[in-house]
């Protein structure tokens, strides 16, 4: 029974961490846009993700971490790929994303259906667990 209680506490802790990560990204994106560092306002949100990229920790209907350009200058393809690569090269962030149940990283423009996506499991190696 204690295990169940601990599992429930873990689940709530995980959800809090997920929303905290999204909130921190949005806050940093907003501050960067307002202070003029970033030409485009970036927003992070949770999406369904790609079912082909699922792994052991994937959250049901919440496996996608989408970064979307909200306003300002639209992003071109190279910029979207660059943003994706910067996030994927941050190993701590990728490991955290994987551990918190995300499986797909998506970078989208503010208009249309243009976007790029990457499977996170290809860029994280948590003790060889995922490979």
């Amino acid at each position: 029974m204690w295990y169940k209680i601990i599992e429930i506490i873990d689940w709530f802790g995980e959800m809090t961490e997920r929303f905290k990560l999204i909130r921190d990204f949005n806050k940093a994106g907003k501050n960067a846009f307002i202070s003029g560092i970033a030409p485009t306002l970036l927003e992070a949100k949770i999406t369904n993700g790609d079912s082909n990229y699922r792994h052991q920790f994937s959250k049901f209907l919440g496996g996608g971490y989408r970064i979307k350009a909200l306003s300002g200058r639209p992003l071109n393809r190279d910029e979207m790929i660059e943003i994706g690569k910067i996030i994927l090269e941050n190993k701590e962030l990728v490991r955290k994303l994987i551990a918190l149940g995300w499986d797909t990283l998506e970078v989208h423009d503010n208009s249309g259906f243009n976007g790029c996506k990457w499977p996170l499991k290809d860029y994280a190696n948590i003790g060889g667990y995922l490979n």
Binding site: A28, A32, I37
Partner: protein
């Protein structure tokens, strides 16, 4: 007989007092017992929790650590927006071909490799820029 009656009268209020004190003390001891019982339950839960933490595997520990890592999002934003320009500047100024016959040629080659390795990490690029300016006297804009 009269003396005995007086003695009984004198002892009656005292016996009532003792009963009252006893009843009150029983209540206090009951509360103390309940509190002790709760403390014991909490300690047992804590022991179970500790035992579980000891038995978790290495991978689970790594996952827990990964979950609790703090990510500096401001640094990430700077990397997204500023690292490209800084990398271009550094790679131009610290290119080994520009320092062929200088005294720091080998060190600058290593520095250039580090710059290429951290091309998308703004904080690291700033540190490398400081090294280039202070250690190798490379002029930056």
């Amino acid at each position: 007989m009269h003396l005995l009656q007086i003695a009984i009268k004198d002892t009656m209020p005292q016996s009532n007092l003792i009963e009252k004190i006893d009843a009150h003390s029983i209540n206090i001891w009951t509360y103390i017992a309940i509190v002790e019982f709760l403390i014991i339950i909490l300690l047992v839960i804590y022991l179970f929790y500790l035992k579980r933490r000891q038995t978790v595997s290495k991978f689970e520990k790594e996952i827990c650590e990964a979950k609790n890592t703090d990510i500096d999002m401001d640094d990430l934003m700077l990397s997204i927006n500023k690292s490209r320009e800084l990398y271009k500047e550094l790679s131009r100024k610290c290119h080994p071909d520009k320092h062929i016959n200088s005294e720091f040629q080998k060190e600058i080659e290593v520095l250039f490799q580090e710059i290429t390795k951290n091309k998308r990490n703004f904080q690291e690029l700033v540190k490398l820029k400081d090294i280039a300016i202070n250690k190798y006297n490379i002029k930056m804009n």
